[in-house]
């Protein structure tokens, strides 16, 4: 193991340019993947924010017994899809309308706006089907005059989310594949550059495991360094975008570590495949 590590480090020392090129190539392919990941992350966050606004609003008929609505609020809160229920009285509705539409404040007269029950839904229940199902359950209450949940808007949002998810997954896979291919061929180059060593090792009777070890370590280290460099590059880009374009979210610590380790694993895998090809003869 000691020798394997020494041989791996010797490869860096002996061909610093090739090693730097490998690490940079790995870093840039992971950087492209990372940038895409950042865009996907922020898009998802933005959509999640919008989605939080999905609500079902049931308007209460005038003159309904407040006890009946209060009881209904209790029932509704127990629905599995429901995150929160708010009862908005006529007075509160009027206040809110006047506050939100300041310049038309005079248009609203007392009693013009009905009381309503506003329901926000839990994450995972904001698709059109679930929203409609919740809305339908309001129909059992006699005092409910009208139910609104912005059907068209919910559907559009859902569609947008589906498209974003599908595009995210397919682009993510594509980027990851491109990264794996680039890293694989980079490491293959390094293995080819050392084919003489592999040949001699085989000739003098080194076992395949022994021959593989330095290359696996080298690949792992290159992947790790590439990953760190890619993380740095995405962070710099994030800072730049944050300063000049738009405030965005960066990866959490867990995600960043996962990304760097992912790079290392790709390096390891690329090495294993490349060196395996050299050893498969005989």
């Amino acid at each position: 193991m000691n020798l394997a590590l020494r041989e791996a480090l010797r490869a860096f020392r002996r061909a610093p340019m090739l090693s730097a090129l490998s690490v940079t190539t790995i870093a840039f392919s992971l950087f492209a993947f990372g940038l895409f990941g950042l865009v996907a992350l922020n898009l998802r966050n933005a959509l999640a924010e919008v989605e939080e606004r999905v609500e079902v609003r049931a308007f209460v008929a005038e003159g309904t017994n407040p006890e009946a609505t209060a009881a209904a609020v209790g029932d509704i809160a127990a629905f599995p899809e429901v995150a929160s229920v708010t009862l908005v009285s006529e007075v509160q509705a009027l206040d809110r309308a006047r506050r939100e539409l300041g310049e038309f404040e005079d248009v609203f007269e007392a009693g013009i706006l009905p009381a309503s029950i506003e329901v926000r839904l839990k994450e995972g229940f904001r698709d059109p089907e679930s929203v409609r199902a919740v809305a339908r359950r309001f129909e059992v209450y006699d005092f409910v005059d009208d139910i609104r949940f912005g059907e068209e808007w919910v559907e559009k949002l859902y569609k947008l989310r589906t498209i974003a998810t599908a595009a995210g997954i397919s682009l993510g896979i594509t980027f990851a594949l491109v990264a794996i291919i680039i890293i694989g061929s980079t490491i293959r180059m390094a293995v080819l550059a050392r084919s003489r060593e592999i040949h001699i090792m085989r000739l003098v009777g080194a076992t395949n495991g022994f021959i593989r070890a330095p290359f696996l370590i080298e690949g792992f280290l290159k992947g790790l360094l590439g990953g760190v460099l890619a993380l740095l590059l995405t962070w710099l880009t994030y800072q730049f975008v944050g300063q000049y374009v738009v405030q965005a979210t960066y990866f959490g610590a867990g995600m960043a570590v996962l990304g760097v380790l992912g790079g290392a694993c790709i390096g390891l895998l690329g090495s294993a495949i490349s060196v395996g090809r050299h050893l498969r003869r005989v």
Binding site: L3, R14, R196, E197, H199, I200, M201, R202, L203, V204, G205, A206, T207, N208, F210, I211, R281, V282
Partner: protein, 251 residues
């Protein structure tokens, strides 16, 4: 110690490289493999150090048969062989002694034994004074000596030399050849492929002459195989019956 029994080798795109070859090499023997380029000399050596496997027939080396040998057994066999090539195949970024030590390190020799072994073998090939020189600082003959030292450092049963003097001038050739004879004199068998007929004819060593994949002459054919203490299987119950065609090895 080395026994070829009806060995043929076909390359998928190159046609037959060896055609029904049978011979044996005893322990401590010196054997020339001669013939023009493409005659199959290198293929025979490759079959001995298991770089290739025969398409038909059986190659036995140090008691291991090509028919039954598992890939995991190949490294152990190679540790009992030494191989040198026309182009030396040294690692350019390592000194002479590091090149030799490399052969010991990669098979897990304890560090304490490496230094003395390397020094001993470099002295044997006459390069003790240039132990710290890099290959490009050495002449062709000296580089080949380093390669021979590397091949010898594990005390092989046989030294396989594939045109070891092909890149060398006359003087260096004589030096390397004398070194191989000295090595042979210590009991190590030597199989040397060469197309230097003048060299072969000037000496009374056993010669296997190849032509187009066939063994056309064996100056030692009249001598029976010596009982070989390193190859009990040759005389054991699992030895192939004379004339029997062993099952061809799957590629």
């Amino acid at each position: 110690m080395i026994r070829f029994t009806h060995v043929s080798k076909h390359y998928p795109r190159g046609g037959p490289a060896l055609d029904d070859i049978s011979f044996h090499v005893n322990r401590g023997e010196f054997v020339f493999l001669t013939g023009p380029s493409g005659a199959g000399k290198s293929t025979i050596l490759k079959l001995v150090y298991v770089e290739e496997r025969p398409s038909a027939g059986e190659v036995r080396v140090a008691g291991l048969s090509s028919v039954t040998m598992r890939p995991a057994e190949v490294p152990a066999l190679r540790r009992r062989l030494g191989v040198v090539f026309q182009d030396f195949r040294l690692l350019e970024d390592r000194t002479a002694e590091q090149n030799v030590a490399f052969a010991l390190e990669v098979i897990g020799t304890p560090a304490a034994q490496i230094g003395p072994k390397v020094a001993r073998v470099l002295t044997q090939v006459g390069l003790a004074a240039k132990a710290t020189a890099l290959p490009h600082e050495l002449s062709g003959g000296e580089q080949q000596r380093v390669a021979i030292a590397r091949a010898l450092v594990n005390d092989p049963l046989v030294l396989l030399a594939d045109e070891p003097t092909g890149n060398l001038d006359d003087r260096a050739t004589r030096g390397i050849f004398q070194l191989l004879r000295d090595i042979n004199a210590t009991g190590t068998a030597v199989m040397m492929a060469t197309h230097d007929l003048a060299l072969v004819k000037s000496l009374d060593y056993r010669t296997l002459e190849m032509n187009r994949g066939r063994l056309v002459f064996d100056s030692g054919a009249e001598f029976p195989a010596a009982a070989d203490e390193f190859d009990p299987a040759v005389t054991g119950p699992d030895a192939p019956a004379a004339g029997a065609d062993p099952a061809p090895e799957a590629p």
